[in-house]
Subunit: 337 residues, 2 copies
């Protein structure tokens, strides 16, 4: 990326997994970075190396508070809106949460961008907006999908808002539909869940679904590269541009499990809860067509297996990031609903 | 429709154009009908013939108030959620309005349905969710669209919510994507706008855009028939079902104008504002594929020209419905923005 298309970026959710990796990269590339985070799921540890950097600043607060956003956005040329409720599985337990944390927060971000004169936004959407697609690998212009999760529905609503703002006000929108992201600072999803279970009890592993769900993962460093390739390509261009971010690879849940058990040197008894989906809204098959992002010259540098390896190495070295939380499997088994 | 798949229906926005026509039909077919309306755009006149009917009741209030909805929904087997901000053109002047009036109101409707045990919803969506499509006539599974209006974005968000609720809670969702509807009680859109201008000044007519915009219209009686065909087909079925409601016909804006000037016996000087779109978010070409709704045995009974004729006859007889409002053309010309 040279010259850098970003002078001063605000990253919402910048203390989170992907946001803090992006912050590191932008600082290293010479940009100014303002992180907004309320530290509900973000972590101060993830910003430790940036805290005293002269081009870094932190606004601690809720993105639903316009005053917080005004303070953070003023003087920026890009907003990377990564803050979100990222939990797909629990959608039906609180259907308003995704609406509030994702859709309403994005609406607020866009309004404060208008008010503060910031014209460019990159948004972290999700492959979940394809619901259960009929076309694989799934391209950006796949048939008009139906939503199967509150998470996907809320992100789709955000995409629509960003497109309407881009059309209505001549802004620049970049919508990145992510597969699941792995790597350093990953704290939420299959891999950490299995890892956590096995650290507590190496003899038993519970898997939601039949284990044959086919997933796609992208390494966070590759993900940040891809976001910046989009920014480079579309900076200053009016309109909204949509990209799948993923790899051409897929992996079975059971295969991920084999990599994890091998890494840990354990041989647990494996119990599948059964069914082709791990939960309502879980997509049995995720495989995005990434031709469009590859046409920008980007390609991922590591395989899914390597990305899982990097993740496990990081979890080994950073017990604080996974030790204090319950496992999703336990939550489901312990729930009376 | 026999036997009627609806025992007791709540119609949000039931004092509006389409809602009140639907209410008439359901009462005539033997159903109980509860109308919710705050009369911001709905009209008491449209319910005059139902007011004293033993199977009709009215809950006057805001759909954003859960208490109002609870009162209205209790005991219903269907909700027809027609209440909306229906103004596409002014979206950029108040980007939160569509979000609040459409997306948040739909979220509230779905939550109160859960709370009151109503399991079936028909939702009035719009062909605007296709943005500016590349496929004509545009089918329900057209390529994943980009939104070009706040109105379309807000309705797309509603569709996603209804799909997520249908998937997550096994409810029945019917999403009808309407073209513009014409007929008795029509008070908003091209036809009434041109009519109103010509009633005030028969010598001059201002048209937003180049007049070559290609539109599709559906007669309100045909629209109500189509909604009830969907209800008949899907009552009791879990999932979400999407239908375009329109005709196989299209009409140029200039052609509509000729029908209106001929009806009124006037020969105005016509001034086009120019451009292929009348305003930001106006789609230059609307033509929906209606094969899916036709596969249920429905077809429209009147042509677009006849629908315009019925509309003009009704406007002739109901001056109260159009006399007191400004014209959209005048609003735009008088605006300094």
């Amino acid at each position: 990326m040279s010259p850098l298309a970003v002078a001063r970026a605000c990253i919402t959710g910048g203390a989170g997994f992907i946001g803090s990796n992006l912050a590191d990269r932008l600082i290293a590339a010479g940009a100014e970075v303002v992180v907004v985070d309320d530290f509900r799921t973000g972590r101060h540890e993830f910003l430790a190396s940036l805290r005293d950097h002269p081009r870094f600043s932190l606004v601690e607060g809720d993105v639903l508070d316009p005053g917080v956003l005004e303070q953070a956005f003023t003087g920026c040329d890009w907003v990377f809106h990564l803050q979100a409720n990222a939990d797909v599985r629990h959608g039906t337990e609180h259907p308003r949460l995704d609406l509030e944390q994702n859709t309403l927060s994005t609406s607020g971000v866009l309004e404060v961008m208008r008010a503060t004169g910031v014209r460019q936004i990159l948004f972290s959407s999700t492959g979940s907006v394809y619901g259960e697609p009929e076309v694989f690998p799934t391209p950006e212009d796949a048939p008009f999908p139906q939503q199967t999760s509150f998470y996907g529905a809320s992100k789709l609503a955000c995409e629509g808002l960003i497109e309407a703002y881009s059309t209505g006000f001549g802004m620049t929108g970049v919508v990145c539909r992510f597969v699941s992201i792995l790597g350093e600072r990953y704290t939420h999803g299959h891999v950490v869940d299995f890892y956590r279970q096995l650290k507590r009890d190496p003899t038993h592993l519970g898997i939601l679904g039949d284990g044959k769900q086919t997933k796609s993962y992208l390494y966070v460093v590759d993900c940040v590269d891809a976001m910046l390739a989009c920014v480079d390509r579309h900076a200053g261009e009016s309109g909204c541009f949509v990209y799948n971010l993923g790899t051409n690879e897929t992996i079975l849940v059971d295969e991920s499990v084999r990599i994890i058990t091998s890494h840990l040197g354990v041989a647990p008894e494996i119990e599948h809860s059964g069914g082709i989906r791990g939960w309502i809204g879980d997509s049995p098959l995720i495989h995005l067509d990434t031709s469009r992002i590859r046409s920008l010259g980007w390609s991922p540098r590591v395989t899914i297996a390597q990305a899982i390896g990097h993740t496990l190495d990081w979890l080994d070295d950073n017990e604080y990031a996974w030790r204090d939380q319950g496992t999703r499997y336990q939550e489901q088994r312990g729930s009376s609903r």
